[in-house]
């Protein structure tokens, strides 16, 4: 009998975001369905629901017409589903064979692990894959590509009927990609159902039978792979509904001389990045998650070490050894993860705002609480932070208000910020506050601050920035001015391979 996997009208909301909105589709046995969409479109949420990691607010999954309810990942495994996430779920200190047979170790006698059986079973799987790995190798010492393959072998060993891959090729080299694709073809022949999430167009066209496009948690369309092309997919992924938020932005458009120049920057995950930022400019950094944008900025900011490269600020060569150093020179960073890297959640709004300028709010040996209070009050008023007082703990505010605290920190009267780096400032923020943040970004630029605006949301990065730099795999793959930027063009640059884009630029 042919297998059938159905997603029935699944919805899932997180505070402030509708991650999935009434998504329904089905996949038959022996078919490979690719899931595509921008970051935040809902692909990962869908996979997490399939694996029983999270539960939908409404709707559900059925297999062969029978409704399933996964209270836990364990139940999903029992229903013969394997989901291979991007983040590897391996035990690094254990061997390949122990990882592959993790849930189901062969035992003999009173419960001793049967190591010879374990080795034999693992070798069998390794032979199928044709990889130069030994069963007893320690996983943590393998290359990232081979670790990813172990993860895939783990799913293969389970012989699940439904296998979902989340960007499996990201860490792989061409050789392993070939092995993986041959494997997928084999699984297909055996009637398995394959879900395949990827940003890479070429791959999707190579192995999928159908393509399902998600955008903002909704299913936009599904295509037969043989009957569509790249352009049609990109149009579907971007959608057409761009509100007039952007048209109403009040910009100064007064761009001055070069403020910050970065040349051939090399750091962990950054392979030779060069760009210039001017006074009053909003410089957007587009790209997919993991493109190396955050790493670039952390290196410039002195948070991570620089391997090589040259940074010039206002004509002077600089290399910040710590964030403290960068801040003293007028460079500020709003990190992507507000709760973990931006705020001290258990402390008040006031304490969070005065953090970098404590030496400027002193009265003799003591802190001048009144001066701090006025800094905080100013931020609360300017950014309309919704709170009864600046004594309230930062952790008690909503995401949007938390972001405003950090913006308030870097633009307070005691700061002299020249370069403001915003890493995904609108992540997890509701639509109304997003519009406020866009206007703030333009206002900062209007004051002559050079603003770097990292965003994985194409629409906003294209419409808010004056110029857009596109990154992929730690390299810059393109530069576009707002007037010439289209989402198709930027997305193509973000997904293209480096070589291709070099050819295009020449």
């Amino acid at each position: 009998m042919e297998k059938l996997l159905e997603f029935n009208n699944i919805s899932k909301a997180y505070p402030g975001v509708q991650a999935l909105d009434d998504v329904g589709f089905s996949v038959k046995g022996g078919r490979v369905a690719a899931l595509m969409g921008e970051n935040g479109a809902g692909k990962s949420t869908l996979l997490k629901i399939l694996s029983g990691d999270i539960r939908p607010d409404a709707g559900g999954i059925s297999i062969d017409g029978k409704a399933q309810s996964f209270e836990s990942p364990h139940r999903s495994l029992q229903a013969s589903i394997s989901v291979i996430y991007q983040e590897r779920q391996l035990v690094n200190d254990m061997s390949v064979m122990e990882n592959i047979f993790f849930e189901d170790l062969p035992v003999s006698g009173p419960g001793f692990v049967n190591r010879s059986e374990l080795r034999r079973g693992t070798q069998e799987i390794l032979d199928v894959f044709g990889l130069p790995i030994k069963p007893a190798d320690i996983v943590g010492r393998l290359s990232v590509a081979h670790q990813q393959m172990v993860e895939i072998m783990k799913a293969y060993r389970r012989d699940s009927d439904i296998i979902a891959f989340d960007e499996p090729t990201a860490p792989l080299t061409d050789k392993e990609i070939d092995i993986l694709f041959r494997l997928i073809a084999k699984l297909k022949e055996r009637g398995k159902i394959i879900l395949y999430v990827s940003h890479r167009m070429a791959e999707v066209f190579r192995i999928s039978d159908e393509i399902i496009v998600l955008k903002d948690g909704r299913l936009v369309n599904s295509f037969e792979t043989a009957r569509t092309d790249e352009a049609e997919l990109v149009r579907a992924m971007i959608g057409r509904d761009i509100g007039d938020t952007y048209a109403n932005l009040n910009r100064s458009d007064n761009i001055g001389d070069v403020l910050l120049s970065v040349k051939d920057l090399v750091a962990k995950g950054v392979h030779g990045v060069s760009f210039e930022l001017r006074r009053g400019e909003v410089l957007g950094f587009a790209g997919l998650i993991g493109a190396g944008r955050t790493e670039t900025m952390r290196a410039i900011f002195g948070a991570d070490p620089i391997i090589s490269g040259e940074i010039t600020l206002e004509g002077k060569k600089v290399r910040f050894r710590s964030p403290k150093d960068a801040i003293a020179n007028g460079v500020a960073l709003c990190p992507e993860d507000r709760k973990e890297q931006g705020l001290v959640l258990g402390r008040s709004i006031r304490d969070n705002i005065s953090m970098p300028v404590l030496s400027k709010v002193k009265k003799g040996p003591f802190l001048d609480v009144r001066a701090e209070e006025s800094l905080a009050g100013e931020a609360v008023r300017t950014y309309k932070i919704k709170t009864p007082s600046s004594e309230k703990q930062a952790g008690e505010l909503s995401g949007g208000n938390q972001q405003k605290i950090i913006l308030g920190r870097w633009t307070s009267g005691k700061m002299d910020t020249k370069v403001l780096i915003l890493d995904e400032p609108t992540k997890g923020i509701d639509v109304g506050t997003k519009a406020e943040v866009y206007q703030m970004v333009c206002d900062f630029a209007g004051l002559g601050i050079g603003v770097i605006f990292i965003s994985s949301e194409l629409t906003e990065v294209i419409n808010v920035s004056d110029n857009i730099i596109v990154m992929r795999d730690g390299r810059i793959t393109g530069r576009v001015a707002r007037r010439e930027a289209t989402e198709e063009r930027v997305l193509a640059l973000a997904m293209s391979d480096y070589q291709e884009s070099m050819e295009r630029m020449v």
């Binding site: 801040i327 990190p335 890297q341 258990g346 953090m355 802190l367 703990q393």
Partner: protein
Amino acid sequence: MKSAVRRIIGAKEFTLFLVMAAAVVVFTAINRNFLSLDNIRNIFNSAFVVGTFAVGMSCLLISGELDLSSANTGMMAGVLISLLMNAGVPWVAALIIVLFFGAVTGLINAFFVNVLGFTAFISTLGVSTVYGGLALVFTNAQNVPIGNPAFWSLGSINVFEVFPLPFFIMIILLTAYGIILFATRFGRRLYMVGGNPNSSRLAGINPKKITTILFVNNGVIASLVGSLLAARMHMGSPLALSGSDLDAITAAVLGGVCFTGGSGNMFGVFLGIMLLTSFQNGLVVVGVDSYYRVVAKGVLLVAALALDFYRERARQKQLLSS
């Protein structure tokens, strides 16, 4: 006014205060002598070791670190100062040398934690064990008597009749550090680092600098405790102070210092110290067998940790729900 009352009742210190008041009432009811001047002086005398340790330890705990070498650093200081004085070094010079030894110990701890990236729990335990062994080597496991009455007086003079000098020093340290924590830049940074070291670093604070200062500070305080104890006992003992750093942690946690860092204050710590020591003393006064006193101390610690756990969980819940 109403909100002020509610704030006082809601404060962790208030719960502690009630527990302590209840303990005092019960102990006094059983034995009137519990509140006699002599016994109060006894309580003060035994409070100073744990209490002074708790000052340095609380600062470390608030910043998210801890130091399990304090007791043996203090013990080592007591042994060293005795050996130095027996070798003819004047007591003032000996005290300065010993305090310097404490500072160096703090630097060693900070080096392991901040430069090599070891966990404080393990590396300070290592340093502690090394000192424990070294002290036995230096003294051949014998107490080192001190024959210097001027030095003895450090441990026995009373300030304002009631306060033994060591206890008085403890009170001064508690007050000074209370002010540092509450009102200075360093104090604020300490709380921020304990609350979230990542955010603090990205906001221009140097977490390693803060914790290095605190480790050094703790080493110096530990040496001071060891020296004062040696003065009171008229000798340096290679077995002194054993476990008193753990008692200091008990007192700090009882007093509302968050074991995972970021919150706590010296007033709470003071109450924690007084609760722990008067509880121990009270059990003696009402005639509880000494073995059971150890049991009681353990129960008090577990109760304090449970209290901290529920407090933290309630806080997390509150943060998540908003």
